[in-house]
Protein backbone atom coordinates (compact mmCIF):
# COMPACT_ATOMS: atom_id res chain seq x y z
CA UNK A 1 0.00 0.00 0.00
CA UNK A 2 1.55 3.28 -1.14
CA UNK A 3 2.16 5.75 1.67
CA UNK A 4 2.16 9.39 0.58
CA UNK A 5 3.78 10.53 3.83
CA UNK A 6 6.79 8.45 2.95
CA UNK A 7 6.92 10.17 -0.42
CA UNK A 8 6.93 13.54 1.31
CA UNK A 9 9.71 12.38 3.63
CA UNK A 10 11.90 11.18 0.77
CA UNK A 11 11.28 14.36 -1.20
CA UNK A 12 12.31 16.52 1.75
CA UNK A 13 15.43 14.44 2.30
CA UNK A 14 16.43 15.10 -1.28
CA UNK A 15 15.74 18.78 -0.84
CA UNK A 16 13.26 18.85 -3.70
CA UNK A 17 10.12 20.89 -4.20
CA UNK A 18 7.02 19.14 -5.50
CA UNK A 19 7.56 20.89 -8.81
CA UNK A 20 11.20 19.84 -8.89
CA UNK A 21 10.37 16.23 -8.18
CA UNK A 22 7.63 16.19 -10.81
CA UNK A 23 10.09 17.42 -13.42
CA UNK A 24 12.73 14.93 -12.32
CA UNK A 25 10.29 12.03 -12.45
CA UNK A 26 8.74 13.10 -15.74
CA UNK A 27 5.34 13.57 -14.16
CA UNK A 28 2.92 16.45 -14.22
CA UNK A 29 2.72 18.64 -11.16
CA UNK A 30 -0.95 17.81 -10.84
CA UNK A 31 -0.19 14.11 -10.69
CA UNK A 32 2.37 14.61 -7.99
CA UNK A 33 0.09 16.83 -5.90
CA UNK A 34 -2.64 14.19 -6.11
CA UNK A 35 -0.25 11.46 -5.04
CA UNK A 36 1.03 13.51 -2.13
CA UNK A 37 -2.57 14.27 -1.19
CA UNK A 38 -3.22 10.55 -0.79
CA UNK A 39 -4.31 9.33 -4.21
CA UNK A 40 -2.97 5.87 -4.96
CA UNK A 41 -0.47 6.00 -7.85
CA UNK A 42 0.02 3.27 -10.44
CA UNK A 43 3.10 1.06 -10.32
CA UNK A 44 4.85 2.96 -13.14
CA UNK A 45 4.46 6.28 -11.32
CA UNK A 46 5.83 4.76 -8.13
CA UNK A 47 8.81 3.42 -10.05
CA UNK A 48 9.44 6.81 -11.62
CA UNK A 49 9.26 8.54 -8.24
CA UNK A 50 11.54 5.96 -6.64
CA UNK A 51 14.06 6.31 -9.42
CA UNK A 52 13.99 10.10 -9.29
CA UNK A 53 14.43 10.10 -5.52
CA UNK A 54 16.92 7.21 -5.56
CA UNK A 55 14.90 5.42 -2.91
CA UNK A 56 13.87 1.74 -3.10
CA UNK A 57 10.29 1.21 -4.29
CA UNK A 58 9.64 -0.77 -1.10
CA UNK A 59 10.29 2.32 1.02
CA UNK A 60 7.03 3.92 -0.13
CA UNK A 61 4.80 1.11 1.07
CA UNK A 62 5.64 1.09 4.77
CA UNK A 63 3.77 2.49 7.73
CA UNK A 64 3.60 6.20 8.42
CA UNK A 65 7.10 7.38 9.28
CA UNK A 66 7.49 8.69 12.79
CA UNK A 67 7.99 12.38 12.41
CA UNK A 68 10.30 14.32 14.61
CA UNK A 69 8.46 17.11 16.39
CA UNK A 70 9.86 20.12 14.59
CA UNK A 71 9.08 22.30 17.58
CA UNK A 72 11.30 20.10 19.72
CA UNK A 73 14.17 20.37 17.33
CA UNK A 74 16.71 23.02 18.14
CA UNK A 75 18.60 24.49 15.27
CA UNK A 76 21.52 26.72 16.03
CA UNK A 77 21.22 29.05 13.07
CA UNK A 78 17.50 29.56 12.92
CA UNK A 79 17.68 32.86 11.13
CA UNK A 80 20.11 31.71 8.45
CA UNK A 81 18.45 28.41 7.72
CA UNK A 82 16.28 27.96 4.66
CA UNK A 83 13.02 26.03 4.99
CA UNK A 84 14.37 23.44 2.55
CA UNK A 85 17.43 22.86 4.70
CA UNK A 86 15.38 22.66 7.84
CA UNK A 87 12.96 20.15 6.28
CA UNK A 88 15.85 18.01 5.03
CA UNK A 89 17.49 18.01 8.45
CA UNK A 90 14.26 17.15 10.26
CA UNK A 91 13.58 14.41 7.72
CA UNK A 92 17.07 13.05 8.45
CA UNK A 93 15.87 12.78 12.04
CA UNK A 94 12.87 10.71 10.92
CA UNK A 95 15.11 8.37 8.93
CA UNK A 96 17.48 8.23 11.89
CA UNK A 97 14.66 7.09 14.17
CA UNK A 98 13.97 4.16 11.83
CA UNK A 99 17.62 3.16 12.02
CA UNK A 100 17.63 3.69 15.77
CA UNK A 101 14.59 1.47 16.28
CA UNK A 102 16.26 -1.30 14.33
CA UNK A 103 19.44 -0.86 16.39
CA UNK A 104 17.53 -1.03 19.67
CA UNK A 105 15.99 -4.30 18.52
CA UNK A 106 19.33 -5.77 17.56
CA UNK A 107 21.63 -4.34 20.23
CA UNK A 108 21.55 -3.37 23.86
CA UNK A 109 22.92 0.15 24.15
CA UNK A 110 23.92 2.13 27.27
CA UNK A 111 21.01 3.36 29.38
CA UNK A 112 20.47 7.12 29.47
CA UNK A 113 22.26 8.73 32.40
CA UNK A 114 21.67 12.45 32.17
CA UNK A 115 20.99 14.81 35.04
CA UNK A 116 17.82 16.89 35.01
CA UNK A 117 19.07 20.44 35.38
CA UNK A 118 15.92 22.17 34.21
CA UNK A 119 15.74 24.13 37.49
CA UNK A 120 19.16 25.67 36.94
CA UNK A 121 19.29 29.18 35.54
CA UNK A 122 23.02 29.85 35.74
CA UNK A 123 24.79 28.02 32.93
CA UNK A 124 28.19 28.10 34.61
CA UNK A 125 26.65 26.22 37.55
CA UNK A 126 24.68 23.89 35.27
CA UNK A 127 27.83 22.89 33.41
CA UNK A 128 29.64 22.29 36.68
CA UNK A 129 26.76 20.18 38.01
CA UNK A 130 26.70 18.11 34.84
CA UNK A 131 30.44 17.54 35.16
CA UNK A 132 30.03 16.53 38.78
CA UNK A 133 27.18 14.21 37.87
CA UNK A 134 29.47 12.41 35.44
CA UNK A 135 32.52 12.65 37.71
CA UNK A 136 34.57 14.64 35.24
CA UNK A 137 36.07 17.06 37.72
CA UNK A 138 37.85 19.95 36.07
CA UNK A 139 39.69 18.04 33.38
CA UNK A 140 39.04 18.65 29.69
CA UNK A 141 36.84 16.22 27.81
CA UNK A 142 39.09 14.38 25.39
CA UNK A 143 36.24 12.60 23.62
CA UNK A 144 32.87 14.34 23.76
CA UNK A 145 31.20 11.80 21.51
CA UNK A 146 32.40 8.91 23.68
CA UNK A 147 31.24 10.70 26.81
CA UNK A 148 27.74 11.16 25.41
CA UNK A 149 27.54 7.57 24.19
CA UNK A 150 28.69 6.14 27.51
CA UNK A 151 25.84 8.01 29.14
CA UNK A 152 23.24 6.75 26.72
CA UNK A 153 22.84 9.56 24.20
CA UNK A 154 21.96 8.18 20.78
CA UNK A 155 24.21 10.09 18.41
CA UNK A 156 23.70 10.24 14.67
CA UNK A 157 25.39 12.12 11.93
CA UNK A 158 23.67 14.52 9.63
CA UNK A 159 26.17 15.20 6.91
CA UNK A 160 24.32 18.17 5.53
CA UNK A 161 26.53 20.16 3.25
CA UNK A 162 25.36 23.48 4.56
CA UNK A 163 26.80 25.90 7.06
CA UNK A 164 23.43 26.81 8.53
CA UNK A 165 22.57 23.38 9.95
CA UNK A 166 24.55 22.64 13.08
CA UNK A 167 22.79 20.06 15.17
CA UNK A 168 19.54 19.17 16.85
CA UNK A 169 18.47 17.06 19.75
CA UNK A 170 15.32 15.78 21.42
CA UNK A 171 13.95 13.26 23.88
CA UNK A 172 11.89 10.37 22.61
CA UNK A 173 10.60 7.52 24.71
CA UNK A 174 12.89 8.46 27.59
CA UNK A 175 15.96 8.36 25.38
CA UNK A 176 18.04 11.35 24.32
CA UNK A 177 18.79 11.74 20.61
CA UNK A 178 21.37 13.98 19.03
CA UNK A 179 22.02 14.67 15.37
CA UNK A 180 25.30 16.40 14.59
CA UNK A 181 26.32 17.93 11.31
CA UNK A 182 29.63 16.17 10.83
CA UNK A 183 30.34 18.29 7.80
CA UNK A 184 31.64 20.94 10.19
CA UNK A 185 35.11 21.03 11.73
CA UNK A 186 35.86 18.60 14.53
CA UNK A 187 35.97 21.47 17.02
CA UNK A 188 32.66 22.82 15.78
CA UNK A 189 31.01 19.40 16.15
CA UNK A 190 32.31 19.04 19.71
CA UNK A 191 30.91 22.45 20.65
CA UNK A 192 27.63 21.54 18.94
CA UNK A 193 27.45 18.36 21.00
CA UNK A 194 27.97 20.26 24.26
CA UNK A 195 25.42 22.85 23.11
CA UNK A 196 22.85 20.14 22.44
CA UNK A 197 23.65 18.51 25.78
CA UNK A 198 22.44 21.72 27.40
CA UNK A 199 19.13 21.48 25.56
CA UNK A 200 18.76 17.89 26.71
CA UNK A 201 19.45 18.53 30.40
CA UNK A 202 18.57 22.18 31.01
CA UNK A 203 15.73 22.75 28.53
CA UNK A 204 14.21 19.32 28.93
CA UNK A 205 10.90 20.51 30.35
CA UNK A 206 10.67 23.92 28.77
CA UNK A 207 8.66 24.78 25.70
CA UNK A 208 9.89 22.74 22.77
CA UNK A 209 10.27 25.92 20.74
CA UNK A 210 13.87 26.99 21.25
CA UNK A 211 14.13 30.68 21.94
CA UNK A 212 17.15 32.89 21.27
CA UNK A 213 17.64 32.97 25.04
CA UNK A 214 17.81 29.17 25.15
CA UNK A 215 20.37 29.24 22.34
CA UNK A 216 22.51 31.75 24.24
CA UNK A 217 22.22 29.63 27.38
CA UNK A 218 23.27 26.54 25.45
CA UNK A 219 26.31 28.34 24.11
CA UNK A 220 27.27 29.50 27.60
CA UNK A 221 26.75 25.97 28.93
CA UNK A 222 28.89 24.45 26.17
CA UNK A 223 31.65 26.96 26.78
CA UNK A 224 31.66 26.29 30.53
CA UNK A 225 31.34 22.53 30.10
CA UNK A 226 34.21 22.22 27.65
CA UNK A 227 36.46 24.81 29.29
CA UNK A 228 36.04 24.56 33.08
CA UNK A 229 36.92 27.77 34.82
CA UNK A 230 39.53 26.42 37.23
CA UNK A 231 41.28 24.38 34.57
CA UNK A 232 41.48 27.33 32.21
CA UNK A 233 42.73 29.71 34.88
CA UNK A 234 45.38 27.31 36.10
CA UNK A 235 46.72 26.57 32.64
CA UNK A 236 46.83 30.03 31.16
CA UNK A 237 49.62 32.47 31.76
CA UNK A 238 48.91 35.99 32.85
CA UNK A 239 49.46 37.55 29.46
CA UNK A 240 47.65 35.74 26.71
CA UNK A 241 48.67 36.17 23.10
CA UNK A 242 46.96 34.98 19.95
CA UNK A 243 49.59 32.27 19.58
CA UNK A 244 48.83 31.11 23.09
CA UNK A 245 45.09 31.01 22.29
CA UNK A 246 45.89 28.82 19.30
CA UNK A 247 48.00 26.51 21.45
CA UNK A 248 45.45 26.46 24.26
CA UNK A 249 42.49 25.54 22.05
CA UNK A 250 44.01 22.12 21.53
CA UNK A 251 43.87 21.30 25.21
CA UNK A 252 40.15 22.01 25.44
CA UNK A 253 39.44 20.86 21.88
CA UNK A 254 37.52 23.96 20.87
CA UNK A 255 37.85 26.49 18.08
CA UNK A 256 40.23 29.40 18.52
CA UNK A 257 37.28 31.80 18.52
CA UNK A 258 35.49 29.80 21.23
CA UNK A 259 38.71 29.74 23.24
CA UNK A 260 39.13 33.50 22.96
CA UNK A 261 35.49 34.06 23.90
CA UNK A 262 35.85 31.89 26.99
CA UNK A 263 39.02 33.69 28.07
CA UNK A 264 37.21 36.98 27.67
CA UNK A 265 34.22 35.71 29.63
CA UNK A 266 36.53 34.66 32.45
CA UNK A 267 38.22 38.07 32.51
CA UNK A 268 41.52 36.69 31.31
CA UNK A 269 41.31 38.81 28.18
CA UNK A 270 40.28 42.43 28.51
CA UNK A 271 37.74 43.87 26.11
CA UNK A 272 40.51 45.45 24.10
CA UNK A 273 42.69 42.37 24.00
CA UNK A 274 39.72 40.17 23.13
CA UNK A 275 38.80 42.46 20.27
CA UNK A 276 42.40 42.48 19.08
CA UNK A 277 42.58 38.68 19.34
CA UNK A 278 39.39 38.29 17.28
CA UNK A 279 40.72 40.63 14.61
CA UNK A 280 44.04 38.82 14.51
CA UNK A 281 42.38 35.39 14.41
CA UNK A 282 40.17 36.59 11.60
CA UNK A 283 43.20 37.89 9.78
CA UNK A 284 44.81 34.48 10.11
CA UNK A 285 41.74 32.83 8.63
CA UNK A 286 40.25 31.30 11.76
CA UNK A 287 36.78 32.64 11.01
CA UNK A 288 36.65 30.60 7.84
CA UNK A 289 38.27 27.37 8.97
CA UNK A 290 39.88 25.78 12.01
CA UNK A 291 43.54 25.63 11.08
CA UNK A 292 45.74 22.92 12.52
CA UNK A 293 42.57 21.33 13.82
CA UNK A 294 42.18 18.26 15.97
CA UNK A 295 41.28 14.84 14.68
CA UNK A 296 37.56 14.24 14.31
CA UNK A 297 36.00 12.27 17.14
CA UNK A 298 34.43 9.00 16.13
CA UNK A 299 31.65 6.95 17.62
CA UNK A 300 32.70 3.97 19.71
CA UNK A 301 29.13 2.65 19.60
CA UNK A 302 28.97 2.69 15.82
CA UNK A 303 32.41 1.19 15.52
CA UNK A 304 31.40 -1.72 17.73
CA UNK A 305 28.12 -2.21 15.93
CA UNK A 306 29.67 -2.16 12.47
CA UNK A 307 32.47 -4.47 13.59
CA UNK A 308 29.94 -6.93 14.94
CA UNK A 309 27.77 -6.71 11.83
CA UNK A 310 30.81 -7.16 9.64
CA UNK A 311 31.64 -10.34 11.51
CA UNK A 312 28.12 -11.46 10.60
CA UNK A 313 28.84 -10.56 6.96
CA UNK A 314 26.47 -7.62 7.14
CA UNK A 315 27.38 -4.24 5.70
CA UNK A 316 25.75 -0.83 5.82
CA UNK A 317 24.12 -1.65 2.48
CA UNK A 318 22.54 -4.72 4.04
CA UNK A 319 21.16 -2.60 6.87
CA UNK A 320 19.74 -0.24 4.26
CA UNK A 321 18.03 -3.12 2.49
CA UNK A 322 16.54 -4.39 5.74
CA UNK A 323 15.08 -0.96 6.41
CA UNK A 324 14.10 -0.31 2.78
CA UNK A 325 16.29 2.75 2.73
CA UNK A 326 18.84 3.91 0.18
CA UNK A 327 22.37 3.06 1.22
CA UNK A 328 23.42 6.71 1.13
CA UNK A 329 20.92 7.55 3.88
CA UNK A 330 22.52 5.01 6.22
CA UNK A 331 25.89 6.35 5.19
CA UNK A 332 24.75 9.88 6.01
CA UNK A 333 23.59 8.86 9.48
CA UNK A 334 26.94 7.38 10.43
CA UNK A 335 29.24 9.38 8.16
CA UNK A 336 31.89 11.19 10.13
CA UNK A 337 31.12 9.07 13.19
CA UNK A 338 32.92 5.95 12.09
CA UNK A 339 36.17 7.50 10.93
CA UNK A 340 36.18 6.05 7.44
CA UNK A 341 34.22 3.90 5.08
CA UNK A 342 36.83 1.20 5.27
CA UNK A 343 36.15 -2.08 6.95
CA UNK A 344 36.15 -1.45 10.70
CA UNK A 345 38.87 -3.13 12.70
CA UNK A 346 37.96 -5.20 15.76
CA UNK A 347 38.33 -3.13 18.91
CA UNK A 348 39.27 -4.08 22.44
CA UNK A 349 36.34 -4.53 24.73
CA UNK A 350 34.11 -5.26 21.76
CA UNK A 351 30.72 -6.89 21.72
CA UNK A 352 29.63 -9.66 24.00
CA UNK A 353 26.83 -11.98 23.03
CA UNK A 354 24.11 -12.68 25.57
CA UNK A 355 23.43 -16.37 25.64
Amino acid sequence: MFNSKRLGLARKRRGLTAKGLAELAGLSEVTLYRVEAGEKPDDLTVERLAKALKYPVEFFSGEDPEEVDTAAVSFRSLTKMKAKERDAAVAAGAIGLQLSDWLEREFSLPDPNLADLSYETDMETAARLMRQYWGLGERPVGNMLGLLEVHGVRVFSMSENTASVDAFSFWRGGKPYMFLNTFKSAEHSIFDAAHELCHLVVHKHTSPQRSPTAEREANAFASAFLMPIADVRSHMTRFITVDEIIRAKKRWRVSAMAMAYRLHTLGLLTDWRYKSACIELGRRGYRLEEKDGIERETSAVWKKILTQLWSEKMTKSDIAKKLNLPADEIENLVWGLTGSNARPEPVDGGLRAIK
Binding site: R105, E106, F107, S108, L109, P110, L136, R139, P140, V141, G142, N143, G146, L147, E149, V150, D231, H235, M236, T237, R238, F239, I240, T241, V242, D243, E244, R247, A248, K250, R251, R253, R273, S276, E280, A300, V301, K304, I305, Q308, G349, L351, R352, A353, I354, K355
Partner: protein, 206 residues
Protein backbone atom coordinates in the same frame (compact mmCIF):
# COMPACT_ATOMS: atom_id res chain seq x y z
CA UNK B 1 97.00 40.81 31.73
CA UNK B 2 95.49 38.02 33.77
CA UNK B 3 91.72 38.09 34.07
CA UNK B 4 89.22 36.19 36.10
CA UNK B 5 87.85 33.25 34.05
CA UNK B 6 84.09 33.33 33.51
CA UNK B 7 82.24 30.70 35.55
CA UNK B 8 79.68 29.04 33.27
CA UNK B 9 77.08 26.72 34.78
CA UNK B 10 75.08 24.67 32.30
CA UNK B 11 74.04 21.55 34.17
CA UNK B 12 70.60 21.86 35.75
CA UNK B 13 71.75 20.56 39.12
CA UNK B 14 74.63 23.05 39.13
CA UNK B 15 72.41 25.96 38.09
CA UNK B 16 69.70 25.07 40.57
CA UNK B 17 72.19 24.88 43.41
CA UNK B 18 73.47 28.32 42.47
CA UNK B 19 69.94 29.73 42.25
CA UNK B 20 69.08 28.21 45.61
CA UNK B 21 72.11 29.96 47.08
CA UNK B 22 70.73 33.23 45.70
CA UNK B 23 67.25 32.63 47.17
CA UNK B 24 65.85 32.10 43.68
CA UNK B 25 64.45 29.07 41.87
CA UNK B 26 64.39 27.88 38.28
CA UNK B 27 60.60 27.52 37.76
CA UNK B 28 60.11 31.01 39.13
CA UNK B 29 62.69 32.49 36.79
CA UNK B 30 61.26 30.61 33.81
CA UNK B 31 57.86 32.03 34.64
CA UNK B 32 59.37 35.52 34.51
CA UNK B 33 60.75 34.65 31.10
CA UNK B 34 57.38 33.35 29.89
CA UNK B 35 55.52 36.42 31.09
CA UNK B 36 58.04 38.68 29.39
CA UNK B 37 57.93 36.87 26.07
CA UNK B 38 54.13 36.65 26.14
CA UNK B 39 53.98 40.40 26.72
CA UNK B 40 56.38 40.99 23.84
CA UNK B 41 54.11 39.00 21.55
CA UNK B 42 51.19 41.26 22.40
CA UNK B 43 52.60 44.05 20.28
CA UNK B 44 50.61 44.67 17.10
CA UNK B 45 51.51 46.62 13.97
CA UNK B 46 49.76 49.60 15.58
CA UNK B 47 52.23 49.63 18.47
CA UNK B 48 55.53 51.54 18.25
CA UNK B 49 58.31 49.54 16.66
CA UNK B 50 60.16 49.02 19.92
CA UNK B 51 57.07 47.78 21.76
CA UNK B 52 57.98 44.08 21.92
CA UNK B 53 61.18 44.86 23.83
CA UNK B 54 59.55 47.54 25.95
CA UNK B 55 56.63 45.31 26.88
CA UNK B 56 58.97 42.42 27.66
CA UNK B 57 61.08 44.67 29.91
CA UNK B 58 58.07 46.16 31.70
CA UNK B 59 56.28 42.90 32.31
CA UNK B 60 59.50 40.96 32.87
CA UNK B 61 60.44 43.36 35.64
CA UNK B 62 56.91 43.15 36.99
CA UNK B 63 57.01 39.35 37.00
CA UNK B 64 60.42 39.35 38.64
CA UNK B 65 59.03 41.42 41.49
CA UNK B 66 55.64 39.71 41.53
CA UNK B 67 57.25 36.33 41.97
CA UNK B 68 59.99 37.22 44.42
CA UNK B 69 59.31 40.30 46.54
CA UNK B 70 58.58 39.14 50.05
CA UNK B 71 60.78 37.40 52.56
CA UNK B 72 64.17 37.74 50.87
CA UNK B 73 63.61 40.30 48.19
CA UNK B 74 62.46 43.87 47.95
CA UNK B 75 61.77 46.34 45.16
CA UNK B 76 64.88 48.34 44.38
CA UNK B 77 65.88 50.95 41.80
CA UNK B 78 69.42 52.16 42.60
CA UNK B 79 70.59 54.78 40.10
CA UNK B 80 67.28 54.27 38.35
CA UNK B 81 68.07 50.63 37.60
CA UNK B 82 64.82 48.73 38.21
CA UNK B 83 65.14 45.35 39.87
CA UNK B 84 64.87 43.37 43.07
CA UNK B 85 67.36 43.53 45.90
CA UNK B 86 68.32 40.87 48.41
CA UNK B 87 69.85 42.59 51.44
CA UNK B 88 71.15 39.42 53.07
CA UNK B 89 73.03 38.42 49.92
CA UNK B 90 73.67 42.00 48.81
CA UNK B 91 72.64 41.24 45.26
CA UNK B 92 70.50 43.06 42.75
CA UNK B 93 68.66 41.20 39.98
CA UNK B 94 67.63 43.14 36.89
CA UNK B 95 65.66 42.04 33.85
CA UNK B 96 67.27 42.56 30.47
CA UNK B 97 66.42 41.73 26.87
CA UNK B 98 69.46 40.38 25.05
CA UNK B 99 70.29 39.34 21.52
CA UNK B 100 71.28 35.74 22.30
CA UNK B 101 71.21 33.85 25.59
CA UNK B 102 72.44 30.41 26.66
CA UNK B 103 74.89 30.16 23.80
CA UNK B 104 78.33 28.61 24.34
CA UNK B 105 79.98 30.65 21.65
CA UNK B 106 78.26 34.02 21.84
CA UNK B 107 78.08 36.18 24.93
CA UNK B 108 74.79 38.07 25.31
CA UNK B 109 74.60 41.73 24.44
CA UNK B 110 71.79 43.96 25.68
CA UNK B 111 69.26 44.92 23.02
CA UNK B 112 69.25 48.50 24.26
CA UNK B 113 72.20 50.58 25.42
CA UNK B 114 72.82 50.54 29.15
CA UNK B 115 72.86 53.94 30.80
CA UNK B 116 75.38 55.49 33.11
CA UNK B 117 73.36 54.36 36.11
CA UNK B 118 73.67 50.74 35.04
CA UNK B 119 77.42 51.11 34.78
CA UNK B 120 77.69 52.75 38.19
CA UNK B 121 75.47 50.14 39.85
CA UNK B 122 77.53 47.34 38.32
CA UNK B 123 80.90 48.82 39.11
CA UNK B 124 81.54 46.13 41.69
CA UNK B 125 81.04 43.58 38.91
CA UNK B 126 83.66 45.49 36.96
CA UNK B 127 86.21 45.17 39.72
CA UNK B 128 85.63 41.47 39.70
CA UNK B 129 86.70 41.36 36.09
CA UNK B 130 89.88 43.25 36.57
CA UNK B 131 93.20 41.45 36.80
CA UNK B 132 93.46 39.43 39.96
CA UNK B 133 96.00 41.77 41.46
CA UNK B 134 93.43 44.58 41.54
CA UNK B 135 92.06 45.20 45.00
CA UNK B 136 88.70 43.54 45.43
CA UNK B 137 86.05 45.85 46.87
CA UNK B 138 84.75 44.80 50.28
CA UNK B 139 81.02 44.25 50.56
CA UNK B 140 80.21 45.45 47.07
CA UNK B 141 76.80 44.72 45.60
CA UNK B 142 76.72 42.09 42.85
CA UNK B 143 74.35 42.85 39.98
CA UNK B 144 72.81 39.87 38.24
CA UNK B 145 71.02 40.35 34.96
CA UNK B 146 68.22 37.98 34.08
CA UNK B 147 68.84 37.88 30.33
CA UNK B 148 66.09 36.75 27.96
CA UNK B 149 66.35 36.54 24.20
CA UNK B 150 63.59 36.52 21.58
CA UNK B 151 63.43 32.74 21.43
CA UNK B 152 62.86 32.51 25.16
CA UNK B 153 66.38 31.35 25.97
CA UNK B 154 67.44 32.81 29.32
CA UNK B 155 70.33 32.95 31.72
CA UNK B 156 71.09 34.64 35.03
CA UNK B 157 74.48 36.20 34.66
CA UNK B 158 76.87 38.76 36.12
CA UNK B 159 78.21 40.96 33.34
CA UNK B 160 80.72 43.72 33.27
CA UNK B 161 78.92 46.83 32.06
CA UNK B 162 81.05 49.20 30.06
CA UNK B 163 80.29 51.72 27.34
CA UNK B 164 76.58 50.91 27.50
CA UNK B 165 76.96 47.20 26.87
CA UNK B 166 78.08 43.93 28.44
CA UNK B 167 81.79 43.56 27.72
CA UNK B 168 82.67 40.51 29.81
CA UNK B 169 81.14 38.02 32.22
CA UNK B 170 82.01 37.03 35.76
CA UNK B 171 79.52 34.18 35.73
CA UNK B 172 76.78 32.79 33.58
CA UNK B 173 74.00 30.42 34.67
CA UNK B 174 72.09 28.81 31.79
CA UNK B 175 68.41 28.30 32.59
CA UNK B 176 66.75 27.44 29.28
CA UNK B 177 67.48 27.36 25.58
CA UNK B 178 63.88 28.41 24.92
CA UNK B 179 62.80 25.04 23.58
CA UNK B 180 60.30 24.72 26.39
CA UNK B 181 58.52 27.99 25.70
CA UNK B 182 56.66 27.08 22.53
CA UNK B 183 54.98 24.23 24.28
CA UNK B 184 54.51 25.95 27.58
CA UNK B 185 50.90 24.96 28.00
CA UNK B 186 51.32 21.33 27.10
CA UNK B 187 54.45 21.14 29.20
CA UNK B 188 52.55 21.77 32.39
CA UNK B 189 49.86 19.31 31.39
CA UNK B 190 50.02 16.48 33.82
CA UNK B 191 46.26 16.39 34.07
CA UNK B 192 45.35 15.94 30.43
CA UNK B 193 41.97 15.41 28.84
CA UNK B 194 39.77 12.50 29.85
CA UNK B 195 39.08 10.32 26.87
CA UNK B 196 38.77 6.78 28.15
CA UNK B 197 35.08 6.26 27.45
CA UNK B 198 33.97 2.80 26.45
CA UNK B 199 30.21 2.50 25.89
CA UNK B 200 28.92 -1.04 26.33
CA UNK B 201 27.14 -2.41 23.27
CA UNK B 202 25.71 -5.88 23.51
CA UNK B 203 24.32 -7.94 20.66
CA UNK B 204 20.87 -9.29 21.35
CA UNK B 205 20.08 -12.81 20.32
CA UNK B 206 16.96 -13.23 18.28
Amino acid sequence: MARVATVVRKQPWDVEARLHGLNLDRPGMLKVRTVARSAAADATPFHPLNSPGTLAYHFGTFALRDGNVGKNWQVARPEGVEGIYNASKNILVVFSNVDVACNDFIEPKPRSKKGAGAERVAQDNLFGALPTYAPQPKGGMTVFYFMVDEKGACELSVPVVEDGTFTAYIERNFLSDGGDLADVIDRVDNDGPMDNFDPQVIRKRG
